[in-house]
Each structure stands twice: as structure tokens, then as C-alpha cells.
């Protein structure tokens, strides 16, 4: 009875977008209450829908419920639908996206309070942003998903560039915001091209873009498996762009130029999670080939490692968090990749145990996605609270804030413990499951040894994560008050601290859901030629996870590493008994430079995209305009009278245009001859 109203979930924020855009100026706080109400209402409906979906037995058998209306139909072609497709993944996604967004919007009321007339734009855009995410979560087909995917991309462009006219920190920051926005848009578009091409491959193979018709065992086996691999890889290309994975990982740290609340929105609840969601959504396709899943895993593992290294010596509080997001997203893809790899092998060999083990990877990836949403939202909002109080993002100017901002300090500590994987915080559970799946995957298949390497990278990443998170916490909250800390007038208002408190409860406790049937709720149909296997489907391992996790020696290894990393951070940045400068040669060592330069990724992009792309364009333009049309520039300035004009036109450039036309005709003839020769039509 609630599921039928799923369409309200994305629609309500959409209505708020329109309402805030039209009458936001006349409502208090520039439409903040409207936006909050919309998000909260979506959240309530999501809860009702999810409750009904999970409790009603009628939905358990197919594992999904879908309804669609015709969007448009090309007579003689295919029909495109608009509808919803609710399964456990969609429920999970819309639940945490709407819940966290509501909290972020409440927080924004305090954070954006001083922004005056710009608030209307802000609340309109975040509402649209939320529409994009929720629409994506409940879409019933790939094209509808793509529409929302792009709406989100557009909104991120607008929001990251929010300060571009007048940044509180001056013109340089405004320019940064502008170029960051553009970069985010263009880089994610590069991924979107892949995604669009992937959708075409899916359309080509299946003749439909509807989830119901694509994720169908018979359909999947009927199509050309090579096309399936191609389509999966192209779709994953879109994911790489959207979730900022290696090698397109450079835009996300730059996207910090937007307001901190937007960073929280992008990093925790929306945008980058869309990529993870899409991989999980396309599991039935991806898991048909172990190579695809191996690729997903490798990209995830490599990103996790590289992003973590870049966070080690960064001085900007938001950038450290941004790199940690990339790194954690890498974990999610690693888990999904390893799990899918096992499932793919299981399908090939018909081994049920492998499929079950792979399902654990899927569960681990999704759990980490949800956990990360909570603790990353918490961390970003805490950093926002700090920035709000001290007016800078540079951690060197902070310090000693614990006494002035107790709530922020404690909640941020909780967030840090959670992301570091400190035992019994929520991040701990999902990270251990991820590592366990990767370890498991390394035992199987010809390429299994690669997962051993990825496991090592992941463990080292866990160490680095604990280190840089506590480096950040100590630099910000403990020690001597820094230059900017003196301006701090105390704790942020209640509208900002209340969301922090709520989120920290989740950052502590959400991980425990794995012991109480999280894996049973999450189900996905993965089907092979001989087997149909629904992962999850009501079977909860429950407390078996405890013996799994604590029965393994590796768990203690990672716990030891995490504790060690926290200890080192304590010595270096709290007690200051170890000089951090000793390790980097006073900022001169190669590694230190490599990290501050982000492994030269930005330069690489500049060389490739801006220089090369623009160079090619200029080159083609030169030929088009200068060589062929030699005098066009001079002509338009020099020509005054008509007679002279025609004289010039006849002697100069029109003749070359004419030559181009004649050459074109000759080329066309040659082309036709060549085609006749190669295709061998009947002459």
C-alpha cells in the first residue's frame, strides 16, 4: 500500500526545488524549511516503502517490485518507460540518502545562515540534487537512471561553483571554485560518455533498457557474452568518472571548493555513491565474467591505496576528508569486485559455496557504503562546524579546539574512530568483511594472486587511514591553539550540533546491523546457466560473523595496525615527541613532493585534456581557417569597398574554398571506389 507511492520519493524534493526557486525569497531562511520538509517527507515515505517491502511476503519471491508508465514510444521502435523498481538495494539507497540529506539540510540552516539572498539558490539546488539521487535509486530502467545521473552531475556543477561569484575568502578562492566546478563537470562527463555507450551496448544486446528485462536469466544467457563484457566495462567507465576512481580521481578533491555541506552531500549520501550503487545494481551483468569483476576490484584497490597516500600530508581539513572518501570508495569497489569475482567463478564451475562467499562481498560492499554514508557525513559536518567557527580550512592554523568545541570534537572523534576501523565502531565491521572477502577471493581462480596484492594494499590503506584521520583530529582539536583558533567563539548552534549527535549514533551503531540480519535483507538475483542463486534471501548469518571475524588472525593484525597508526599520530601530532619533518626531509623528499603534487595527476590531465585536446582543436581550426582560408582575418578588417572586396574574394580565399569543394568531390569519388572495392557491391 505504500510501495505504490514510491514515485513521491523523488517527486517531493522536486516540488521543493520548484517551490524554493519561485517563492524561496519570501519564506524564512530562504526556503530552508521547505527544503527540509521535502527531504524529511521523502525520508518518511522511504521508510514506509522499505518497511512494507521488507515485511510483506509478496515481494520476497521475485525480490523486487516494479511499476512503470510509458514515457515515450517510437512507433516501430522501442518504448521507453518511466517507473520505479524497488528492491533491497534501492531501499537501502533511498533510506540513507533521504535520511542523511535531511540531517544535512537541517545543519545547513545554521551553516548557511549568513549567506543572505544566496540561500534561495542553495536550497533550490540541493533539493534538485536530492531529486537526482533518489530518482536514481528508484529508477526502473537504465535511461531513467541516466537522466537522474545527469541531473545530479549538473547540480554538482552548480553547487561546487556556488562561491564562484563571491567567495568568502576572496577572488582566488572564487576562481578555484569556478575551475573546480568545470573540472568536476567535464571529468564526470568523460565517464558519462562511457556510461552512455554502455547503455547503447545494453540496448543493442537486450533490445531494452528496463531492469526487469535486462536482469533476466534467460535474457542474459541469450546475448553475446563478449558484448556483455564490453557493456559492463563501459558502464563501469561511467562509474569511474562519477565515483572518482583511478584514473579519474582528480576532480573530487578539487570539488571541495563548494560549501562544506555540499561536500557532505556529495561524499556521503549522493553523487559518488551513485557509482557504487550502479555497480551493485548491475551485479547480475558484471558477475557474468570474472575479468570484469577483477577489473572492478583492481581499480578499487589501487584507488584506495593512492588516495590514502595523498591524504597523509595534506594540510587542508576538507581535502584530507576528500581523499579519505576516495579511499573508502575504493574499499567498496574492492569488496564488490572480489565478491563478484567469486560469484563469476561460482557460476562457471557451478560451485554454490563460491557464490555464497561472493555474496558476502556484495553484502560487505553495501554495508560499507551505508556505514561510510553515516561517518563521512558526520566527519564533513564536523569539519564544517570547525570551519564555521575558525574561518579557515588550514589545519596548521587550528589546534586546541577541543576545549572550545566539545560536541564537535567528540563527534569528530567518533567519526574518526569509525572510519579508521577501530573495533566495534561501524566502520570496523564492514572493513573487516571487505578484507575477509578479498582474502577469500585470492584463493580461487587463475588471477586470484592479484587479490593477495590487493589485500596487502587494503591492509596498508587501513593503517594509513587510521594515521591520517588521527593526524587530522590531533592537529585540529588538541595541542596548542593555532593562529585561527583564537577567533573561535565556541560551539556551533544547535541546528548544527543536533545532526552531529544523531549521525554519531549511527557511526557507532550501524555496523552492528550485520549481526542482526542486514545480510538477510539485502538480496540480489545472480543467475548462471545452471543455477539461479538469490543472494541473501532471508538467510542471516547473524552472530556467525563474530566467529568469522574474531576467529581470524588477520583481524588482529589490522587491529594492531590501526592502534599502531593512532599511536604514531599521537606521538607526532599530539605529544610532538616525534618530529614529522624527519620523515619527509623537511618537505624536500621525493615522496613528500609526489604526495603534495598528488602524484602529478593534475598535470597529467592538463597535458592530456587541455593541452592536447585544445591543441588538436586549434590545429584543425588552423587548417580549416588559415591554410584553406588564408586571408579571412585580414579581409574582414581591410575590406572597405565592394569592388575591392570582390577583387580580394576572387584572388584569395574563395578560390581556396572552391578548391576544397572540388577536392571534396574527388575524395568522395575515391571513397566510393574504395567502398565498392572493399564491400564488393554488384557492379
Amino acid at each position: 500500500m505504500f510501495v505504490e507511492y514510491t514515485w513521491l520519493v523523488p517527486l517531493l524534493p522536486m516540488i521543493c526545488f520548484v517551490a524554493v526557486g519561485l517563492i524561496g525569497k519570501r519564506t524564512p531562511e530562504g526556503g530552508a524549511y521547505l527544503a527540509i520538509a521535502g527531504a524529511a517527507a521523502s525520508c518518511v515515505i522511504s521508510v514506509l516503502v522499505a518497511y512494507e517491502f521488507f515485511t510483506s511476503a509478496a515481494y520476497h519471491d521475485p525480490g523486487y517490485v516494479t511499476a512503470e508508465i510509458e514515457w515515450f514510444k517510437i512507433p516501430g521502435g522501442f518504448t521507453l518507460h518511466f517507473g520505479y523498481y524497488i528492491d533491497s538495494l534501492a531501499c537501502l539507497m533511498m533510506l540513507f540518502a533521504s535520511f542523511i540529506s535531511t540531517l544535512i539540510f537541517v545543519y545547513s540552516k545554521g551553516y548557511m545562515h549568513e549567506q543572505g539572498a544566496k540561500k534561495r539558490r542553495y536550497y533550490a539546488e540541493v533539493s534538485l540534487f536530492l531529486t537526482g539521487m533518489l530518482g536514481l535509486a528508484v529508477s526502473s530502467n537504465f535511461l531513467e537512471m541516466f537522466v537522474f545521473w545527469e541531473i545530479m552531475g549538473l547540480c554538482s556543477y552548480l553547487l561546487i561553483g556556488f562561491w564562484s561569484f563571491s567567495h568568502p575568502e576572496g577572488d582566488d578562492a572564487a576562481d578555484n571554485a569556478a575551475s573546480a566546478a568545470k573540472k568536476a563537470f567535464l571529468v564526470t562527463r568523460l565517464g558519462d560518455v562511457c556510461l552512455m555507450a554502455g547503455l547503447f551496448v545494453v540496448l543493442y544486446s537486450f533490445g531494452s533498457l528496463d531492469y526487469v528485462r535486462v536482469f533476466d536469466a534467460a535474457a542474459i544467457h541469450a546475448v553475446d557474452q563478449d558484448m556483455l563484457v564490453l557493456g559492463s566495462l563501459l558502464i563501469f567507465g561511467g562509474v569511474i568518472g562519477k565515483s572518482a576512481q583511478f584514473p579519474l580521481l582528480d576532480w573530487l578533491p578539487d570539488a571541495m571548493a563548494g560549501p562544506t555541506t555540499v561536500s557532505a552531500l556529495i561524499h556521503a549520501a549522493t553523487m559518488v555513491k551513485a557509482g557504487v550503487y550502479l555497480v551493485a545494481r548491475c551485479y547480475p551483468l558484471f558477475a557474468q565474467a570474472s575479468e570484469v569483476m577483477l577489473f572492478v576490484g583492481i581499480i578499487g584497490g589501487v584507488t584506495a591505496f593512492f588516495a590514502a597516500t595523498m591524504a597523509l600530508n595534506n594540510m587542508n581539513i576538507k581535502r584530507v576528508l576528500a581523499y579519505s572518501t576516495l579511499s573508502q570508495l575504493g574499499y567498496m569497489f574492492l569488496a564488490l569486485g572480489a565478491g563478484g569475482y567469486l560469484i563469476a567463478l561460482g557460476i562457471e564451475t557451478g560451485d554454490h559455496h563460491l557464490i555464497a562467499a561472493g555474496a558476502a562481498g556484495y553484502v560487505a560492499g553495501c554495508l560499507h557504503m551505508a556505514n561510510h554514508a553515516f561517518f563521512k557525513a558526520l566527519l564533513f559536518l564536523c569539519s564544517g562546524s570547525v570551519i564555521h567557527a575558525v574561518g579557515t580550512e588550514d589545519m596548521r592554523k587550528m589546534g586546541g579546539l577541543h576545549r572550545k568545541m566539545k560536541i564537535t570534537s567528540v563527534t569528530m572523534l567518533i567519526g574518526s574512530l569509525s572510519i579508521a576501523g577501530f573495533p566495534f565502531f561501524s566502520g570496523f565491521w564492514s572493513k573487516e568483511l571487505v578484507l575477509e572477502t578479498v582474502m577469500h577471493a585470492s584463493d580461487y581462480g587463475a588471477e586470484g594472486y592479484l587479490f593477495t596484492i590487493l589485500w596487502l594494499l587494503a591492509v596498508v590503506t587501513a593503517f594509513m587511514t587510521a594515521f591520517y584521520m588521527f593526524r587530522m583530529w590531533f592537529m585540529t582539536f588538541s595541542g596548542k591553539p593555532g593562529h585561527a583558533s583564537e577567533h573561535c567563539h565556541g560551539e556551533s548552534p544547535a541546528s548544527m550540533t543536533a545532526p552531529l549527535a544523531i549521525l554519531s549514533a549511527f557511526a557507532i551503531g550501524f555496523g552492528f546491523t550485520i549481526l542482526f540480519g542486514f545480510d538477510a535483507l539485502l538480496s540480489i538475483g545472480v543467475e548462471g546457466p545452471h543455477h539461479q542463486f538469490t543472494v541473501g534471501a532471508g538467510e542471516a548469518k547473524g552472530f556467525e560473523y563474530l566467529s568469522d571475524i574474531f576467529g581470524s588472525a588477520y583481524t588482529y593484525l589490522t587491529i594492531a595496525l590501526v592502534l599502531g597508526a593512532i599511536g604514531i599520530a599521537h606521538l607526532m601530532y599530539n605529544k610532538r615527541s616525534v618530529d614529522a619533518g624527519r620523515f619527509n626531509g623537511g618537505g624536500e623528499s621525493f615522496v613528500y613532493k609526489a604526495l603534495t603534487k598528488r602524484w602529478w595527476f593534475p598535470q597529467l590531465y592538463d597535458q592530456i585534456s587541455w593541452k592536447l585536446g585544445y591543441g588538436v582543436a586549434r590545429g584543425v581550426d588552423f587548417i580549416d581557417r588559415q591554410v584553406v582560408d588564408g586571408t579571412v582575418n585580414g579581409l574582414s578588417n581591410a575590406v572597405a569597398g565592394g569592388g575591392e572586396l570582390i577583387g580580394k574574394a576572387q584572388t584569395g580565399d574563395v578560390r581556396s574554398y572552391t578548391w576544397a569543394v572540388v577536392a571534396g568531390v574527388v575524395l568522395l569519388f575515391a571513397l566510393m571506389l574504395a567502398l565498392f572495392y572493399f564491400i564488393g557491391g554488384g557492379i
Binding site: I74, S164, K182, F200, L203, D621, T658, V665, G682
Partner: protein, 496 residues
């Protein structure tokens, strides 16, 4: 709807009724301009003529009328739809011409007359059933547009552009005539149906091959297909912006309509014969399409003048539409027709904004658009929508039409996969490239600071025309079915 009012009035001339009204308007226009001192009155009369013609066509189209006159002209769902397209373009152009500072003041009567005559020429082509009428229609539209391109005040670039246009246009006409005469030589008739019938029995011949190449070259000039595109940026840049809009959205479609008429008809007929070289010509079109979209998009990146940028983007858009010629399925034609319509409103809207801004003293350089988001919020927003639609960002019309058009390269209507999936990839890649230069304009408008902060107030007719384009760009994106059924009817009418 009942079309008897119109058929009673025009009797056997009904298939030509919309054109006759338009021509009548063109003929009275010089007299009208003697009576009115101001341009507004003249513009009102020309708008009335277009509106009357539009009304007649709408009634005919909605009533599903079809008929023909003397084997030369035939009105069916296809020609009706294309006439509607040309009328829409003419309406937008006529609406803004009188308030533009670029268009001529002294010769505005002649200007309006030529505009109507050019539109009538295009409409004749849409109904033409015979090589001769196609040729005459194209020439009527071409020669008038040469003059229109030259009619700009105080700008030598217009004269220069017009001269180039005339010379290259003359060359292409020569080629066209040569191609048409070869075709006549092969088939022994100028009637399209007759040629199709003759070809399906005679099969392929080299004379026919030469005719095809010559016609691709000649009408490729109209479309501005690579490598016959060189004139387009110069002419669009040089001409008054309403005329640029007319050429980019209307005149370009003229060439495409000719392609549809001649080639599709011949190949549908020819595909019945095994010895007929359909596939080679399809490949030739596919390569021309791929080149056109790629070169158009890549060169557009380097442009600093917004009219030149839009010109190159038009070239690229024509490349997308040429996919239809490669795929040659009814489904592709549906998508192509739909894209032609969405292109009118998104590209037309963008040109109109450029024209409106020129009226209030904003230059043509992209750098002149800095800070526009504050100076003219509505125009900047509309521009953003048009550019994003052109780039194919959902849920705007450009996205929907591109999805339909590109998916046509993947499978035809019967669910059979085609071999043109590579062309769809090239097209998708190209839409991504295109975002690069559209985003630059968006950045200039919203992110960079301009030298002036003064608010801009543009003439009301421009605002009205832009608002129409904006509304249709959004509506056709969200609810494409509005037009899609007409496109499908038109496609099946052409395929017979």
C-alpha cells in the same frame, strides 16, 4: 479535423496552399513597405502571412490530408511536417527581425519579401515529387538567402560573407545540376517515382554513381557537411543574426530534406534489387556523417566568436542527422525528423539570444558574455538550457532526440540489430566533446566576472521568441510524444 474549408478554397491547388499564401505575402511585401514608415508594420504583415500559412498547414496536417498536383507536388504527412518546420523557423526569424539592430532599415520591405520567398522555396522542396521542382525550390531558397546574408547594416563582413556564399553556392548548384542530369540520363524521367521504378529494374550503373557523388557534394553544401562546410561559419558570422538563425536552422534542413527525398526514395526502391549498390552509398554517408560531426565539434572548441562556435556546432548537428542516411530505416528517419525539430528550437534559441544581445551592445566574443548571469538572468539561463540541450543533457529535448536518433544506429524498428553501432559510439563521443565548448560559454556567463554590471534590457519580440524556444526545448524533452507520432507518420509516409 476537417480540411474541407481549405480544399474548397484552393481546390486542386490544395497541396500547394501553404506555399501560395507565403508567396502572396512575399509579393505584397514591397507594396506594404511603401505604406509603412516603420519596420514594425511590415513585420506584422509578414508575420500575418506566415501565420496564415502555418494555420493552413496545421489544418492539413492534423486532418491527415494527402494529395498531389500534376505529378510535381505532393502533400503528405512528411511534407506537411517539413513545411511546419520551415514555417516555425520563418516565424521566429520574422518575429525578431524588425527589432534587431543588425537587419536593414531602409530595405526592410525587400528583406521581409525575401524571407518569405526563401521559406516558400524550402516548402516547395518539402512537397516536391520531381527533380525539376526540387531544383527550382532549392534555387529559390538559395538565391534569396544570398541576398539576405548581404543585408546587414554597417558591416563589411556581411558583404564578404555573401560573396563567398554566392560563389560556393554557384559551384554547388553546378554540381547539383550535373548530378541531376546524370540521374535523368540514367532513368529517362525526372519524376522521383519514375526514377525509383527505373532503377529497380535497371540496377546500378556508373552514371548513377557519378550522379550520387555529385548530389552529395551539391546538397552537402546546403547541409554544410564536411568537406563542403567551409562557407558556413563565415556566412553565419557575417550575416545579421536573425538571418544566421534562419540559415542554420532552416536552410540546412532544406538540404537534409532533399537527401531524404531523393536518396531514401531511391534506396527503398533500389533495395529490392540485389545488384543495387545500397550498402556502399550508405557507408559513404556514414563516413561523411562521422567526419561532419567530428570536425564540427573539434573545430568548435577553438572558436572565440560565439556565432562561429554555433556555426560549427550546427555542422556537427547536421552530422548527427546524417546518421539517418547511413542507417536508412524508418525508425532512424523518425529520430532524424524529431532531431531536426528539436534542433530548430535549441539552436534557434541560442542564435536568438546572441542576436538579442547584439541589439543591446554585447559583442559576439565569448569573452563578452562574462558576467551575463547577473546582467541578464533570464537570457543567461535560457542560453544555459539551449547549450545543455545541444550537448544532450537530460531531460532537455536534445537528449531525447539524440537518444532516439543514436539508438537508430543500433537497431532498426523490427528489433534487428544494425551494423552501425560504431556510428552511435562516434556520435556519443562527439556529444561529449561538444560539452567542452558549451561549458565554456556557461562558465563565462555564470562564473567569470564581466567588466560591466549594468542590467540588460532586450527588445520584447526577442524575449517572446526566446521564451517559445525555451518552452519547446523543455517540453519536447520531457514529453517527446507530442511530436514523435507526427514524425513517425511522416517517416512511414516517405517510405510509402
Amino acid at each position: 479535423m476537417d480540411s474541407s474549408i481549405i480544399t474548397d478554397l484552393f481546390r486542386e491547388f490544395t497541396p500547394m496552399a501553404p506555399m501560395l499564401v507565403m508567396l502572396l505575402g512575399a509579393l505584397v511585401m514591397p507594396a506594404v513597405s511603401l505604406g509603412y514608415k516603420r519596420r514594425g508594420g511590415v513585420a506584422a504583415v509578414s508575420l500575418a502571412a506566415i501565420a496564415a500559412s502555418l494555420l493552413i498547414n496545421a489544418v492539413l496536417l492534423a486532418s491527415g490530408y494527402s494529395g498531389e498536383y500534376g505529378g510535381l507536388f505532393g502533400y503528405d504527412a512528411f511534407s506537411g511536417l517539413m513545411i511546419l518546420l520551415f514555417q516555425s523557423v520563418a516565424f521566429l526569424a520574422a518575429l525578431v527581425s524588425a527589432s534587431s539592430t543588425e537587419t536593414t532599415r531602409l530595405h526592410f520591405g525587400a528583406y521581409s519579401s525575401l524571407l518569405l520567398a526563401a521559406t516558400a522555396g524550402m516548402m516547395f522542396v518539402a512537397t516536391a515529387d520531381d527533380l525539376i521542382t526540387i531544383f527550382v525550390g532549392v534555387e529559390l531558397a538559395s538565391i534569396t538567402s544570398y541576398i539576405l546574408a548581404a543585408m546587414k547594416r554597417k558591416d563589411p563582413r556581411a558583404a564578404e560573407a555573401a560573396v563567398k556564399y554566392v560563389i560556393i553556392g554557384g559551384l554547388s548548384t553546378a554540381m547539383t545540376v550535373y548530378g541531376l542530369s546524370m540521374l535523368y540520363g540514367v532513368a529517362g524521367t525526372t519524376s522521383l517515382d519514375g526514377i525509383a521504378a527505373s532503377l529497380s529494374t535497371a540496377g546500378f550503373s556508373w552514371a548513377f554513381g557519378i550522379a550520387v557523388v555529385m548530389m552529395i557534394a551539391g546538397y552537402g553544401f546546403k547541409i554544410a557537411a564536411v568537406p563542403f562546410h567551409m562557407w558556413a561559419p563565415d556566412v553565419y558570422e557575417g550575416a545579421a543574426t536573425p538571418v544566421s538563425m534562419f540559415l542554420a536552422t532552416g536552410s540546412k534542413k532544406l538540404g537534409i530534406v532533399v537527401f531524404f527525398k531523393i536518396f531514401l526514395l531511391l534506396f527503398v526502391a533500389g533495395s529490392a534489387v540485389a545488384s543495387f549498390a545500397t550498402e556502399e552509398v550508405q557507408y559513404a554517408f556514414a563516413i561523411v556523417a562521422a567526419l561532419t560531426m567530428t570536425i564540427g565539434n573539434v573545430v568548435a572548441i577553438a572558436q572565440t566568436n560565439i556565432k562561429r562556435m554555433l556555426a560549427y556546432s550546427s555542422i556537427a548537428q547536421a552530422g548527427y542527422i546524417l546518421i539517418v542516411m547511413a542507417v536508412m530505416s524508418e525508425y532512424a528517419l523518425t529520430g532524424g525528423l524529431f532531431h531536426m525539430f528539436t534542433h530548430v528550437f535549441m539552436k534557434g534559441g541560442a542564435f536568438l539570444i546572441v542576436g538579442a544581445l547584439i541589439c543591446v551592445g554585447v559583442g559576439e566574443k565569448i569573452s563578452d558574455y562574462r558576467g551575463l548571469g547577473r546582467r541578464a538572468p533570464f537570457l543567461a539561463f535560457a542560453m544555459l538550457v539551449f547549450l545543455f540541450a545541444l550537448a544532450g543533457i537530460p531531460p532537455l529535448s536534445g537528449f531525447t532526440s539524440k537518444v532516439i536518433l543514436f539508438s537508430a544506429a543500433i537497431f532498426d524498428g523490427d528489433g534487428v540489430m544494425t551494423q552501425w553501432i560504431w556510428l552511435a559510439f562516434v556520435a556519443v563521443l562527439n556529444s561529449a566533446i561538444s560539452l567542452y565548448y558549451y561549458a565554456r560559454v556557461a562558465k563565462a556567463m555564470y562564473i567569470e566576472k564581466g567588466e560591466s554590471e549594468a542590467k540588460l534590457k532586450v527588445p520584447a519580440p526577442f524575449l517572446a521568441a526566446i521564451a517559445v524556444c525555451l518552452a519547446l526545448t523543455v517540453i519536447l524533452g520531457v514529453y517527446p510524444q507530442l511530436l514523435l507520432d507526427f514524425c513517425a507518420d511522416a517517416a512511414s509516409a516517405l517510405f510509402g
